[in-house]
């Protein structure tokens, strides 16, 4: 599935662990091609003397005491689990 950009929606959706129908794939390819075409304007910006900003404000290395504190009990942590038993989350079998 080739669009006007290098984005291959089917491939990236697999990376993102989202299954898509063929209709969704086709629609998203076109819509995201448009978005990627729009963001191409960033190539015109002169960024040769600029440091990348992960955050707007200079906050670095926020530490706290490495001390235990009260938090969820196992019961609370499991309160929204789709499947659970014996204080554990149940998932499909991972190893044969």
């Amino acid at each position: 599935m080739a669009g006007t950009s290098e984005l291959d929606v089917g491939y990236v959706a697999r990376l993102a662990r989202i299954n898509l129908t063929e209709d969704e794939k086709n629609a998203f390819q076109k819509q995201l091609d448009d978005v990627l075409k729009y963001v191409e304007k960033l190539r015109q910006a002169d960024v040769s003397h600029v440091e990348a900003a992960a955050h707007a404000l200079p906050i670095f290395n926020v530490f706290r005491e490495d001390a235990a504190s009260e938090w969820f009990t196992a019961e609370e942590a499991l309160s929204n689990a789709p499947r659970k038993a014996n204080d554990l989350f149940i998932v499909p079998k991972v190893v044969e």
Binding site: L20, V39, L42, A53, H55, L57, A77, N80, F89, V91
Partner: protein, 492 residues
């Protein structure tokens, strides 16, 4: 004043009645419940209500606390213990919050009663609230139009007198834009001013919680309650919090307001431009000096935003894997199918699009061209603002280039929807604070559509823009106008 009219009050006016013991907090809850029952069937602002718990809390309310006995609506992306927190997504449809967000703890400590959760675009991704998987929210001024988004439920509830005030979240304009389109006040604090702990993360370097209210004073009072350092949020700023309500005033003598020349773009609705021109004259007559300034990298803001916000979203939304909470696809054969189908069935189209785009811009071979470059342009945008603020106290612009658009008008074209945020997005990239206040109406087919004026301030300079916004508000009558849905029911 009959009890039926209580919901029309501002928070400040409600508090006068409460503190004079002319009305009880319990009676306020009952009046609000009746009001919501009367209007919300059509309006669609609320996703869930917990009025019985609110009534119990009201019985023991201490009305002398800063927000004692004041019911507040909460955007359904902030965790309120025991209440749902759907984020407007099927994937969290049955989730119940097991804890209170820091802002909710702080509101409770100030005496407020969080009684209901408001509709939003799924995970706050959108500008019209149409991306909610739960329901449609309508604009109180014209039911054929959107309330704006993503905090559209909060904006519509406040505008329709179905809430005294509300919390929203603003990642690219999601408080200010719906406030403008629905005709209320919307305030985005400086990044880091309000804790994000308990706010379900969309784009962590941009998200910020703030109030939507009927007046600027009410926004300041809520800010007093929710601002401040929180050890639970490593990006929260450890800075002194002023009394935002104490600094409010009435004149603008000596205030320098910057008009960014790049914001005078084609595509601004002429009715919006006319309203802003009138507002500028009013600001001048109140003593403000209007100075043209330049933000040369403005044209890049939307592009930078849709790279960085989607990149951060793709990482943040990885937690929705069907394992620990939320929806899980039925009978998956293995883990990969569990993830793939849970996210296929649980996420709506806009969330899928953004997670895919975000995954792509972070992927090997594209990271430098998209993500890293966007981070650098973000720094240029931040520097634009820093330079402008050397000359002026605040920047002034429309909040949205257009008034409320029609339901369905922009849903087919995501890029067109993204451009609705063109004036609000840069503030999130730069981490600065901003407010939208009502400044007029556009007439359309017999409906009046609200127009919003945006003021942007320096980092941590919230008190100043609240002061400017309040001086403008108190010298105009726009905030007193009520939508048809409000006045019709009050008369009945």
């Amino acid at each position: 004043m009959t009890h039926k009219d209580l919901p029309a009050l501002s928070i400040a006016d409600l508090q006068s009645f409460l503190r004079r013991r002319e009305v009880s907090a319990r009676e306020v809850i009952d009046a609000l419940r009746a009001r919501i029952e009367a209007v919300d069937g059509e309006l669609g602002a609320y996703l869930s209500l917990d009025m019985d718990a609110a009534a119990r809390e009201a019985e023991k309310a201490n009305v002398d606390l800063p927000l004692g006995g004041v019911p507040l609506a909460i955007k359904d992306i902030v965790n309120v213990m025991g209440q749902p927190c759907t984020c407007g997504s099927k994937i969290l449809e049955r989730y119940r919050a097991p804890y209170d967000a820091t802002v909710i703890q702080k509101l409770r400590a100030a005496g407020a009663i969080p009684f209901g959760k408001t509709n939003l675009d799924e995970f706050a991704m959108g500008s019209s609230t149409e991306n909610s998987a739960m329901k449609l929210t309508r604009n109180p001024w014209d039911f054929a139009r959107v309330p704006g988004g993503s905090s559209g439920g909060s904006a519509a509830a406040v505008a329709a007198d179905a809430a005294f005030g509300a919390l929203g979240s603003d990642t690219g304009g999601s408080i200010r834009q719906p406030a403008a389109l629905s005709g209320v006040v919307g305030f985005k604090p400086t990044y880091g001013r309000v804790s994000r702990f308990g706010l379900v993360a969309f784009a962590s370097s941009l998200d910020q919680i703030g109030p939507l209210t009927k007046t600027v004073r009410d926004a300041a009072v809520i800010m007093n309650a929710i601002a401040g350092h929180d050890p639970q949020d490593s990006t929260s700023l450890n800075e002194m919090v002023p009394d935002f309500a104490a600094k409010l005033g009435n004149d603008l003598r000596g205030v320098r307001l910057g008009l960014p020349k790049e914001y005078m773009i084609e595509g601004i609705d002429p009715r919006v431009k006319a309203a802003i021109d009138v507002a500028l004259k009013q600001m001048s007559s109140l003593g403000a000096e209007i100075i043209e300034v330049s933000l040369p990298h403005t044209d890049y803001a939307v592009a930078v935003y849709y790279i960085l916000a989607t990149a951060e979203a793709s990482a943040n939304l990885a937690r929705f894997d069907g394992v620990r909470y939320g929806y899980r696809a039925e009978n998956p054969s293995d883990m990969l199918e569990l993830y793939g189908r849970t996210r296929e069935e649980g996420f709506g189209p806009e969330v899928k699009r953004r997670v895919i785009l975000g995954t792509y811009v972070l992927s090997s071979g594209y990271y430098d061209a998209y993500y890293l470059r966007a981070q650098k342009v973000r720094e240029l945008i931040r520097q634009d603002f820093a330079k402008a603020f050397e000359k002026v106290d605040a920047l002034i612009s429309p909040t949205s280039p257009v008034p409320a658009f029609k339901l369905g008008e922009r849903t087919a074209d995501p890029l067109k929807m993204y451009l609705a945020d063109i004036f609000t997005i840069a503030a999130n990239l730069a981490g600065i604070c901003g407010i939208s206040v009502p400044c007029g109406f556009a007439e359309a087919n017999g409906h009046r559509l609200p127009i919003g004026l945006q003021l942007l301030g320096k980092p941590l300079d919230e008190a100043r823009i609240l002061q400017i916004a309040q001086a403008y508000e108190q010298n105009t009558d726009w905030h007193k106008a009520r939508p048809p849905v409000a006045s019709a029911t009050h008369k009945a």
